[in-house]
């Protein structure tokens, strides 16, 4: 899925759960989670889906595995070319 208005020169392509996604440069990984589908970053202890809440690095709800590093706060992480994001959901 491609965000309308994104131009090749000003966009980056990353992978979320193995799926390629092209987003405008400057998009945060947390925002890209919504473009990828349903804004889900992790599951809670009972397996229910969770997504970003605070957007500013406080609540830790948006944490996901980014380039192999677990529990990265996706709301503080800008999308970069070839970034590999894996959600726990």
């Amino acid at each position: 899925m491609r965000e309308p208005g994104a131009k090749a020169a000003t966009s980056v392509t990353l992978r979320i759960n193995g799926r390629a996604l092209t987003v405008p440069a400057g998009t945060s990984v947390a925002a890209a989670l919504a473009l990828a589908g349903d804004l889900v970053s992790r599951s809670d202890l009972a397996g229910r889906p969770r997504g970003p809440l605070c957007g500013m690095g406080v609540c830790f709800e948006c944490r996901a595995t980014v380039d192999g590093v677990p529990e990265v706060l996706t709301c503080l992480t800008p999308c970069r070319e070839d970034l590999e994001v894996v959600t726990d959901a």
Binding site: D38, P49, L53
Partner: protein
């Protein structure tokens, strides 16, 4: 890695930037740490790239020219002794030796639990605004906002401008208090302008006072909300809900350093110095007061750190913004109904999945931690702590290191003697 500086500033929002500019322009070696990838804090998030806000542009370019150094993606995890901060930057660890410290850690939203608030699609008011600024596409999406004060309007304006269909702006404050506050703005020309500009963008959007969310509903994601609007219930189908009630200061690092906190704000003198020598605090840490207060207190702290005289005009501005902060606190105080939204099954602690019913026999935060694991998860009580304070009146506990999830390596103080401070060499 190690760093040494005359002045370290934690937080690159308006307060931190103003302190950095004043101190660096006076010749101090200044290091600014922030967990975001760019300077600007939450209020000026993305402005380093976009440059749409004139005030932000002015301060960001002044900061860039000041000679202060900036380290993005930096989180302070411990402060084992005076003059030393332990910091994590992505996969690496950093020890910072400093002469003076300015805390400019800002604020976060006050979240209160209500049924369904853990569903994806339910965010904070500013939380949703931030995600939209960061690229979340809101065009044609139905949005309901429930909160209070100037930030509620600011968020609505952003969402509206990005093509979101804002169905309702629910202000919790009663009409009289709301308009009383709006009229108060007349006494503060800077605020009036801000308010007017924001309101102008919102013509035709439905707003209601004495309105709040009762429940968020949906299977795997938000599908609808049940609202209380001026005493009547209504259900609205929507894609996003922004719900949070005002701001609370990020006091963890101040508490970790042993700064005195009174009435939810760090106690400072006229130099913005806390009760801990050589540690200053600015901005929202002094009580929620917005950008103006952050800039002015930041300038005062920067001048104090560099032992520079304070211009009269700055002193005067300081008194003016403090009056605004007082009015804001009165307006944004959550109404009693908001403390009773959660049902026994509603989770209070989102990290450890602690429902309200698990806290029945607890009488304070310590018991809730020990018996029910409230606040024991990743965010270390940053979300549920403020909620528990509003719901039950439980006071925050002292903060112990690490203040955030950290690697063991990051908590080890540097073994070798630190490099000598620049000014002393």
């Amino acid at each position: 890695m190690r760093e040494a500086c005359d002045l370290v500033i934690v937080g690159a929002g308006p307060g931190g930037l103003a302190a950095a500019c004043r101190a660096a322009e006076a010749g101090l070696d200044v290091l600014v740490l922030d967990q975001q990838p760019e300077p600007g804090g939450q209020v000026w998030r993305g402005e380093a790239r976009k440059g749409t806000n004139r005030l932000a542009r002015r301060w960001l370019s002044r900061f860039a020219a000041s000679g202060a150094r900036f380290r993005p993606g930096a989180r302070v995890v411990a402060a084992p002794e005076p003059g030393l901060l332990l910091v994590e930057e992505g996969p690496s660890s950093l020890a910072v030796r400093y002469g003076r410290l300015v805390l400019a850690t800002g604020a976060r939203e006050r979240f209160l639990p209500f049924p369904g608030w853990t569903l994806p699609g339910v965010l904070g008011v500013s939380g949703l605004q931030v995600l939209v600024k960061d690229g979340l596409s809101i065009r044609g999406r139905r949005v309901v906002l429930a909160g209070t004060g100037p930030l509620l309007l600011a968020a609505a304006a952003t969402l509206h401008a990005h093509g979101g269909e804002v169905l309702l702006i629910a202000e919790q404050a009663p009409a009289a208090r709301h308009w009383g506050f709006a009229l108060q703005l007349w006494r503060y020309p800077g605020k009036l302008l801000q308010g007017a500009v924001l309101s102008a963008g919102l013509v035709g959007v439905r707003t209601a006072t004495e309105a709040w969310v009762l429940e968020a509903r949906g299977e795997h994601r938000l599908e609808s909300v049940r609202m209380s609007v001026s005493g009547r219930e209504e259900q609205l189908a929507c894609d996003y809900l922004g719900a949070a009630w005002g701001l609370v200061p990020n006091l963890e690092l101040a508490r970790l350093l042993g700064c005195e906190v009174s009435g939810g704000a760090v106690v400072v003198d006229e130099r913005m110095e806390t009760r801990v020598p050589r540690v200053h605090a600015v901005g929202e840490l002094l009580g929620i007061g917005g950008v103006d207060q952050a800039l002015i207190s930041g300038e005062l702290a920067g001048l104090a750190a560099a032992e520079q005289p304070v211009p009269d005009s700055l002193e005067k501005s300081w008194r003016r913004v403090r009056a605004f902060a007082g009015a804001l606190a009165l307006h944004d105080a959550p109404r009693p109904e908001l403390r009773r939204l959660a049902t026994p099954e509603t989770l209070l602690c989102r990290c450890e999945d602690v429902p309200l019913s698990a806290l029945e026999d607890c009488t304070n935060l310590r018991e809730a931690r020990l018996y029910a694991r409230l606040g024991m998860g990743s965010c270390q009580g940053r979300t549920c702590g403020a909620a528990a304070e509003t719901l039950f009146g439980w006071a925050a506990e002292s903060v112990r290191p690490p203040g955030l999830p950290a690697r063991i390596g990051s908590l080890r103080p540097p073994a070798e003697p630190p490099p000598t401070l620049k000014r002393e060499s």
